[in-house]
Symmetry: C2
Subunit: 343 residues, 2 copies
């Protein structure tokens, strides 16, 4: 049963029922009696306004899209959980998409979602530089917020880690312990955040009076295979680094697997600082020193930005498209036992 049938049943007009059921009774000064009657009947007959009808009328369905490279990555699943929770509290649903860390999949998914008339989009862009993505964002009139990886030169506001400082912080752990030959396992060197983290580690070396070119670098992706082969590249060298920084959340897996293959003990033969806190980081032997992201705070900021933009774009058509706010959060150092003095 829909609201017009309910209205007929009650002898009221659709408008009245609609007003009551969509919580605008006050606004239209519907009499207390009527409100009660309608609510009771709605309850009894299990009637709720059909969101598709309402959506058509309003031009919105109360859904925002969330496009992540891989929901399986703990960072993104935590993000998703926090975002969903926050949005739900304002009656907005989250539609999920995985771009599989693939830039062209990302583009085509974004295209589809743009078409679906969502209220807005939250995008964690795939690392690779993508002119196509940039221009889609630019051309679209949909409120979009970027997260995790800023995309310079777009109007979309972004929320991410203070990556350069974070990279510095990571390297400093190793330097402070006395390491001089350091490995760096990158994620996707094309992405802004990876680049920033990388520059940060170089900064730290420089500040310690070590030639940043001495950094042993490898890595070109987030998959198990890629991080594994990159780890091997770094750790199988004759002049093997005594410490390693993994710049992506997945990287630690490759580093651990390789260390295991080479029977390197941690931290005696290899010190590790890993980006992204994982539930198991503190629990394994030895507990891993990590650079954590304040995920929940970041999620909240994302939602705030999105809400602001959704209001803007619905009220003011020619909203200032150039504002491009970027927010950066400080990384958290979780100091544990995977860093020791070089042997």
């Amino acid at each position: 049963m829909n609201i017009s049938e309910l209205a007929k049943e009650l002898g009221f007009s659709v408008s009245t029922v609609s007003r009551v059921l969509s919580g605008n009774a006050e606004k239209y000064r519907i009499s207390r009696k009527t409100v009660e009657k309608v609510q009771e009947a709605a309850e009894a007959f299990q009637v709720t306004p059909d969101p598709i009808g309402a959506g058509l009328r309003r031009g919105k369905m109360g859904i925002v899209g969330l496009l992540v490279p891989d929901i399986t990555n703990p960072f993104f699943s935590q993000l998703a959980r926090a975002i969903e929770l926050k949005l739900r509290s304002s009656g907005v649903a989250v539609q999920l998409c995985n771009s599989a860390e693939d830039s062209s999949t990302e583009i085509s998914l974004l295209g589809k979602m743009l078409t679906r008339r969502l209220d807005g989009m939250i995008i964690a862009p795939v690392g690779t530089e993508s002119e196509a993505l940039r221009s889609m964002i630019q051309d679209s009139s949909m409120p979009i917020v970027l997260v995790d990886r800023p995309l310079p030169g777009t109007k979309a506001p972004s929320v991410s880690l203070e990556n350069r400082n974070a990279g510095r912080l990571a390297a400093q752990q190793l330097l402070a312990a006395g390491h001089t030959l350091i490995g760096c396992l990158r994620g996707a060197p094309g992405s802004e955040s990876d680049r920033e983290r990388f520059e940060g580690t170089r900064d730290a070396l420089r500040a310690a009076g070590i030639d940043p070119e001495s950094l042993v670098v490898a890595g070109s992706g987030y998959s198990r295979e890629e991080s594994l082969s990159a780890s091997a590249l770094i750790l199988r060298r004759p002049d093997r680094p005594t410490g390693i920084v993994t710049l992506s959340g997945q990287g630690i897996l490759g580093a651990l697997e390789t260390a295991r293959e080479l029977k390197l003990t941690i931290p005696d033969q290899l010190s590790i600082v890993a980006f992204d806190e994982q539930p198991w980081s503190p629990l394994i032997e030895p507990p891993i020193t990590t650079i954590a992201q304040p995920v929940d705070q970041m999620a909240n900021r994302v939602v705030e930005l999105l809400n602001r933009n959704m209001q803007k774009s619905s009220k003011d058509e020619n909203s200032d498209r150039e504002t491009n706010e970027s927010y950066f959060f400080d990384a958290l150092l979780m100091e544990r036992s995977s860093v020791g003095s070089p042997s």
Copy 2:
């Protein structure tokens, strides 16, 4: 621009444009020429049929809801990824909800989603027995598929692990290594799957001629705190078990943390068999023996069932509601080094 404006622009009727743009040109034998013109223009003007309008007409928006206890749990995030991928290929989007392992949250979320006129729902029920959930499913006309945890006595088909065998398999690892005093860390004892796994471990003990009552049991939830305190209960006993089975994916975290606190070496002082494969299970020291679930296959089956039900419920109104198919998948044993002989 919408399709009727496009139609006017081109001098065609809305119907024609609609038919072309929704891929029914063949069906209505639209002339090749017209099709081309329309498609070109649609491309040029960036016109796609508004899904809300279409949704209103069809009564469906091409969205299925996915309700999981916690997207942060690797099992569920893998499931979500696989489900999303499969559904996407048939043009269906996934709407995500976290019930936060809370039964009443689950109910209210399900209520909301039922209201949102989704095409269907995939639910991984929270463990606790819930009459409310059962009856909501029973009363709803929406196609629903259950996953991970079957809910006996509902019409909804379900996909889950062959839990009892899996429990047996887990315990057998310990028994085969010679353990006789075994601990069992349960997840949510209220859930069907937990109960089955538990019964399985008891089966195994019995089969080995050991009194199942000797099993040292604890555990009543999935949170870090709960699994931690349960682990402590098991491992801090004077007659500490020499081996432990963790029945939930999260359990291993509690067990590891407690083992670490007590400075128990694995597997020398404590052998572990853990339910659910995690990316890091094989990589830590020692690699953990796990009982893995064939997540992707399970996801595929879920989607097949959902599709079947969606077709049924749209064609045949009084579809046989009693079919209640349940599918069970065999667990995979990942034998590694966390099981040794008791000291």
